[in-house]
Each structure stands twice: as structure tokens, then as C-alpha cells.
Symmetry: C2
Subunit: 274 residues, 2 copies
């Protein structure tokens, strides 16, 4: 890992066992990257590197990468996927958006639909929202008994540990925006007809519970940043900073995984093409 | 549709009701495109146009596009996906590779796994191989009684008609390479260590049945090119020609679908972001 990537990991990784508070991280922080123009060029280069590493991951076919994106409405989950993974071909990348659970999904435990969506070996899976909604909106809106929700942190940790022990590396990014930035972005969705489809009146209801959501995020970060599946909190008021940080961590992670072209079980000389 | 796209559609579309023979189409034909360098630049531009159209399809959220790719081993199914869809972000594109069916899949009818993999509204689904394997390899290797296989053409046509009537536009491309070209590509997989992982000794067995496979492809084309889900046969010995043709047809199809940003059910003035 490059020194620069290591510095980013140090800065934005939530250390297991330490108490983290969201107010200690400035969503407008730009101190870890260079100027906007240079940073955007660097991010494009990182995205191409990720594509090349993904090709090797696919060829190897033995391990997977799961990237989980969480963040309040308008935090930029879709935008991050575009900024970091648009250069990665669709062959080895799957994106799953976790929407309001269906009646069928609710008839199972909450982890099942996440499990079904996990990436197959050789691929990158991206979760746009995830099983963490079950300790976020579920907690704020009391969608399950409090006792049940509190037990989910350990259940999620055990689930993710199992995944990593079976070949799936997990990266979790919380995209952290300020309340002011959300106001601007929601207003933009109301003002720009091409963004009307992104506006959901329910988002305004959630905005009224901003403080409760921030608390739920903190509980999630403090309970579920583990050695095997750490959380990163990314300052996300500036889209170019957000994309730069996520791209750098994803690339560093794939480099550490260091996927290899598999050795064949046959000898090339054994075959003749007629 | 531009005149050029219309000419391509005319040339490579298999007309329902007419008998088509593969030997009438030259896999090395370059007459429908310009020189290699210009064509590649044009294809990159088409790929970006497809990305922009896909964004509108996603916003609209009412219809889907299903792109089916078939072709003998080494015909370039993966390469086509890379060449045509790499500029399209992974958010609205899913790729499904149809491998040897699992025991569970075999315990159902052959169309079920294709149905499960169909794209959700607002997205593009790409099938790398498909339910057509059940009238190709299944026919050549007699994996089912002949009577059962012969009935599948009508079953597939009815299945695809239902999909189109419910909002999914279907494009089917057979990537047509010559036997000589396949020899070169298989040899390249044996000679280049970075391509060893792509080589499957079973491909040599299938190559021995080249003639039977060509007949099975012809039967598929002549029985399943319908008004609602036509087959295109693409000369694929030249990768840049193949990508150019597929990209042009995909773009023209999305343009004809003409997806629109949806009109909201609410009035922007009804809301205030506090």
C-alpha cells in the first residue's frame, strides 16, 4: 500500500474498540487530497486501476470483494458507484440496491436478502444500502422490538466474519454529509426537473429525524467496525473528495488481495487445436 | 434511427419467415463499417451514448432492455460486453453468465433460470449465453429427447413475446466466427499464460462437433427470429466490426424506446426543505 493510501486508511478507518463521534469528522474536509482538478484526474486513474485489478480477480475466480455503501438520503451512494466503478466493466461487478423489503423478504430474517445478494467468487458486489438499514431506519422508526435490534450488531459481525473467512473481503463506507449539504441537494431535486424522479417526499420526513439517524449511525459504527470488516467514514460534502477517498481505499484493498491468474491443471503442450 | 443504423439492421437482421443459412454471411465482412481506427472511435462514442440513454431508462423505471449474446466458444461474448457496455455504469446493468445448470436448476424447467435473471424495469440485462443453450448444446449432445427440444422453439417464442408485452425489449445477437478464427483464438489461449484460465479442454470437444453446432444455430435463427424478438447475426472475426455493429443496434434500439424522465405525482412547490 502506498504511504498516501495508508494515511487515508489511518484517518478514516473507525478503530474497533475506540468510541467515535460523527461530529469529530468534518464533512467538508479536503485536507487529505490535493486540489479539485488534480484529484479528479487521479480518481479517474484509480478507477482504471480498479478495473485492471478486477480483471485479475475475475480470472483468479477464488475470492470476492463486497463494498457496502451507507449514508443518509442524498449522501451520494449512486454517485460514488459512478465515480469509482464506471470504468469497471459490468461483467465482474454487480450492484444491489436495498429497497423497502417486500412481503416475502419480511417473512425471512433480515440478513437473508443480503446473503442472497453477496458477490460470487471472482466478482465485486456493491451494496447500495444494505443489512445495516436494519439497525438504522429500523432503529429510528422502531420497526422491530429494541431488544431484537440491539442483538443485530453481534449478528451482523458474525455474519460478516463468516463471509470474510470464506473468501469475501468486505469494505464498508459511510458517506458523511452535513445537514446543510443535504438541504442544498434536496432543494436541487425539487428545482431541477431532470432530478424530480430522485425526490421522494418521505426524505423530508427522515430529515426531521436527522439527530436520531446520526445517533443510529454512530451506534452502527461503534458496534460494527471490526478487524475483519472495518467501517470507513468518508467526508462527502465534496463529491470529488468522497470519490477520491473511496477509490483509493478500494484500490489499496484490491492490491493487498493481489489476485493472480490461476495456474491451469493441464499442460499447454497436451493439446493441439485442429 | 439514422440511415446508417437502418442499413445495419436491414443487413444483419434475420427476417422471420425467410430461410437463413450461415454460409451466406461472411464472418470477415467489413463492408458495413469504415476503417478500423475511425470505427473504434465511433464505437467509443456509441458506448457513451448508450450510457446516457441508460440513465434515462433508469430514471423512467418502466421498461427494460434484454440483450442476449450467443456464439460458439471464443466468439467474443465477454469482449462484446466490454466493448459496448464498459462505459455504462454498473448501477443499471446486470450481466448473467449461463453456465452448466446446477442440480437445482435441472430440477426445474429450462426457462426458469432465464426468467429469474431477467432485468428489472429501468435496467439493461445482458445474457452471456442464455436459454438458447437448451436448443444448442442440448440438441448437439442430445441432452433431452429430440421431441422435447423441437417444442422448445415455440416455447421460447411465447416466453419472449410475454416479456416484450410486459415492458422488456429484447435484442439477440449471434456472434458468428469462422472455424479458422476459432482455431487462432483457442491457440492463443494455449500460448498466452494470462489467457490459460480461459481455456477449457472441453472446448476442443465442441470444436469437433462444429458442423452440428452450426446446424443447431441455423435452426435456432430460423425458428426464433420473431417480430417481437429478432435475431441479428454479427460477423465477428474482426472484434472491432463486431463491437461496432452491436453498439449501433443497441443505441438505435434505446433511441427508439426513447425513455423519458418521469413526471412526478407531486408539485415541486408543495415542499419546502427546512
Amino acid at each position: 500500500m502506498s504511504d498516501r493510501s495508508r494515511a487515508l486508511v489511518e484517518k478514516f478507518l473507525i478503530r474497533p474498540g475506540k468510541t467515535f463521534r460523527l461530529k469529530d469528522l468534518d464533512p467538508r474536509d479536503t485536507s487529505t487530497v490535493g486540489d479539485e482538478e488534480t484529484t479528479k484526474i487521479e480518481t479517474d486513474a484509480l478507477a482504471r486501476d480498479i478495473d485492471a485489478l478486477q480483471d485479475r480477480l475475475y480470472a483468479e475466480g477464488r475470492r470476492a470483494l463486497l463494498v457496502i455503501l451507507q449514508g443518509t438520503d442524498t449522501a451520494g451512494k449512486d454517485g460514488t458507484i459512478r465515480g469509482v466503478f464506471n470504468a469497471t466493466g459490468p461483467i465482474g461487478v454487480s450492484v444491489t440496491a436495498f429497497r423497502r423489503p417486500s412481503e416475502d423478504e419480511l417473512a425471512h430474517d433480515y440478513l437473508r436478502r443480503a446473503h442472497l445478494a453477496c458477490p460470487r467468487r471472482g466478482t465485486i458486489g456493491i451494496f447500495n444500502r444494505s443489512h445495516y438499514e436494519d439497525v438504522l431506519v429500523a432503529k429510528v422508526r422502531s420497526l422491530a422490538p429494541e431488544k431484537d435490534i440491539e442483538r443485530r450488531y453481534d449478528q451482523i459481525n458474525a455474519f460478516e466474519k463468516m463471509l470474510t473467512e470464506n473468501g469475501t473481503t468486505i469494505l464498508k463506507f459511510m458517506l458523511h454529509i452535513s445537514k446543510d449539504e443535504q438541504k442544498e441537494r434536496l432543494q436541487e431535486r425539487l428545482d431541477n426537473p431532470n432530478k424530480h424522479w430522485k425526490f421522494n417526499p418521505g426524505d423530508l420526513e427522515d430529515r426531521k429525524s436527522w439527530g436520531d439517524f446520526q445517533k443510529a449511525y454512530e451506534a452502527m459504527l461503534n458496534n460494527c467496525s471490526t478487524e475483519w470488516a472495518p467501517w470507513y467514514v468518508v467526508p462527502a460534502d465534496r463529491k470529488w473528495v468522497r470519490n477520491a477517498i473511496v477509490a483509493r481505499v478500494v484500490k489499496a484493498t484490491l492490491e493487498e488481495m493481489d489476485p493472480q491468474y490461476p495456474k491451469p491443471s493441464w499442460k499447454p503442450g497436451d493439446f493441439k487445436v485442429d
